[in-house]
């Protein structure tokens, strides 16, 4: 899958799929906003540097919150942190999924059975209570540690998907051709199989980000993550915690919700239109 091919696919999707066009547009805007956080005049961890509870104005486009923080810059930081967090989880769990899926699918036999059993055990584990217990044990969990923990839970579905893809690839003629023409297993997997697996990896990346970002928000609003780092979850936590809707500071709670809804819907529809493109017969089945 060369960069040109990716560009070509994007162009075609952009032309024919209105969902893709809209969600890509929103996502790019959010991305630009996240990158803007580099230019922030404030430190995201400090508070009480601006007057509290000011409604949106020219100097503070999204208003300020009850902790004396400028919501515009806080949202930018939160978006950046959340996106990086989601990508971290996605990349680590994709690596596990590809390794497990390819080995299980290609090797078959006992290796396959053991790996699939492992997959299924991870699938049935109730992740939410486990995360709360983990939090209880470790007390302080940084965002990156949480990303690693989530990644350890986020691979099994996609490993199964990749395995089934490899299973069907193994039966194709080009597998035999390439083995007979002297390619070793690594070459076969990297040059012949990976191009077929990569679309799955890309599509599931987005799905996985939706999942991990959702969990991050859930854990944060329960006060279970490091609350001084702005993320989509912690920013909502503070607004709810300090009773923003009771005290009438509507912008404090409104903007996080709006941004979260925009982020999730745009990611979701990107995912849906991509899976429809890869496999038009199967409708997108998000977890």
């Amino acid at each position: 899958m060369s960069p040109m091919a990716v560009l070509d696919v994007t162009k075609r999707l952009f032309k024919h799929d209105i969902r893709f066009r809209l969600s890509l547009l929103i996502f790019v805007i959010l991305l630009v906003f996240a990158v803007l956080s580099v230019f922030s005049p404030y430190d995201p961890r400090s508070s009480y540097y601006v007057p509290i509870n000011r409604p949106p104005s020219l100097s503070h486009p999204l208003g300020t919150n009850g902790r004396g923080q400028d919501l515009f810059w806080m949202m930018a930081f939160a978006l950046k942190n959340s996106l990086i967090f989601g990508l971290e989880v996605a990349i680590i769990s994709r690596i596990i999924a590809v390794i497990v899926g390819v080995i299980a699918g290609y090797k078959g036999g006992i290796a396959d059975q053991v790996l699939i059993f492992l997959c299924d055990s991870f699938i049935v584990l109730p992740i939410f209570p486990i995360l709360i217990f983990l939090k209880l044990l470790t007390r302080e969990m940084s965002l990156s540690t949480l990303a690693v923990v989530l990644a350890l839970f986020g691979w099994p579905w996609d490993a199964r998907l990749i395995r089934s893809q490899v299973l069907s690839l193994r039966e194709q003629k080009f597998t035999i051709t390439s083995i007979f023409s002297g390619e070793n297993t690594w070459e076969l997997i990297f040059y012949e199989y990976l191009p077929h697996i990569l679309p799955i990896v890309f599509a599931t990346t987005i799905n996985n980000m939706l999942w991990s970002l959702g969990l991050e928000i859930t854990l944060s609003v329960l006060g279970l993550t490091s609350l001084d780092i702005p993320t989509m979850g912690t920013i909502t936590y503070w607004a709810v915690q300090q009773q923003a809707m009771v005290t009438g500071v509507w912008w404090w709670i409104l903007f996080p919700i709006v941004f979260i809804v925009l982020l999730f819907t745009s990611l979701y529809f990107l995912f849906v239109s991509m899976t429809d493109f890869i496999n038009p017969r199967a409708r997108a089945i998000a977890r």
Binding site: L137, L213, I217, I253, L267
Partner: protein, 344 residues
């Protein structure tokens, strides 16, 4: 018929054994985990907390307190002895006292909040399942109708939004801005729980928003699920055949399109009913509903070990029973599964 009963009995005993085994393993794990975690001795934690609170205690009374606490937690004697005692107390229905709200027994706390969670979960699961399943079946049969498209768009738009955010939005709009419903609790403070109309009305009012949030999300996902399942079925030969026989549409829909999708949908429903522990935890926290989820959450935050273990046990039993229910029900809706112990 006699042989059927025999097979059923054999099947039932087998499934029941599996169910009991799962419960046994679950109980053993809940017994082991707090004992294997280093530095998590609840008696030490309790003593330390008292000392940190600044009260001076003479060493001999600390010693005595530690012994008492160990006894209360069932941490006396060897591991085997503890395990034996644990089972003995468990079968008597004694889960020990709660420590955050000492000396209320854990079983009282659980039985106080269990009805709220079970009521909310069972009601919303069944309502959303029935509506979602029926609409999903009709939707793939008549995919060009306007309302199908609208409903599908709606389900798809709601789906990616994290449940917490969705529930929070409902709460803000209906309880804070419009003020149509109360913002929390299960019934109005001051009304005694009784069989009166006022109490019933209060419960419905307070439960409406949490139920609504669960129903909307649940309905959307059952709808899309059922649509996925039946969208293949409508192209099957037997459906075409039924149409050519000029059978009535509701009949085709019910017996030819929706029936084959039932096993999968029913399995999903039963498994969802088993999630008393985590199923409504967020709902209860957002809407401040006094159910098992809230109880579990506060128990964990206050390191109330006995309570955490009690609730974990409840959820293990619930999941095991739900799986048993699925196993027993499936052969009735899916004739391919037979009571002889496997698919044929």
């Amino acid at each position: 018929m006699g042989s059927f009963l025999k097979f059923f009995f054999k099947y039932f005993v087998g499934r029941l054994a599996v169910c009991l085994l799962v419960i046994f393993v679950g109980v053993t794990i809940t017994f082991l985990i707090p004992r294997l975690i280093p530095g998590a001795n609840p008696a030490e934690t309790a003593v330390r907390r008292l000392q940190m609170a600044g009260s001076y205690l003479p060493p001999e009374s600390i010693e005595k307190m530690r012994d008492e606490l160990l006894k209360l937690y069932g941490l006396e004697g060897s591991m085997a002895q503890q395990y034996f005692n644990y089972w003995k107390e468990l079968l008597k229905g004694n889960l020990g006292p709660s420590f955050a709200s000492f000396p209320t027994p854990v079983i009282t706390l659980i039985s106080r909040s269990l009805p709220w969670t079970v009521g909310l979960l069972v009601l919303t699961s069944i309502v959303s399942w029935v509506i979602g399943t029926i609409l999903g079946g009709i939707a793939s049969y008549r995919s060009n109708t306007l309302w199908v498209k609208i409903f599908e768009m709606f389900s798809n738009a709601v789906r990616p939004i994290p449940y917490y955010i969705f529930a929070l939005t409902l709460l803000i709009v209906f309880a804070y801005i419009l003020r149509w419903f109360p913002a929390g609790g299960a019934y109005q403070i001051g009304i005694e729980p009784s069989l009166s109309w006022a109490f019933f009305k209060s419960v419905v009012q307070h439960g409406f928003l949490p139920a609504l949030s669960l129903i909307i999300i649940g309905m959307g996902s059952w709808f899309l699920n059922m649509r996925n399942l039946t969208s293949n079925i409508i192209h099957e030969d037997f459906v075409t055949f039924a149409k050519q026989m000029k059978l009535k549409e509701p009949l085709i829909l019910r017996n030819y399109v929706m029936k084959p999708a039932m096993p999968a949908q029913l399995t999903g429903l039963a498994l969802q009913l088993g999630t008393v522990f985590s199923g409504t935890i967020i709902t209860e926290i957002v809407f401040n509903y006094p159910g098992l989820g809230t109880l579990a959450f506060t128990a964990i935050m206050q390191s109330d070990y006995n309570l955490v273990m009690g609730i974990t046990l409840c959820s293990i039993v619930a999941v095991a029973l739900a799986t048993l229910l699925v196993d027993l029900l499936l052969p009735f809706v899916d004739p391919r599964i037979q009571y002889t112990g496997g698919a044929t």
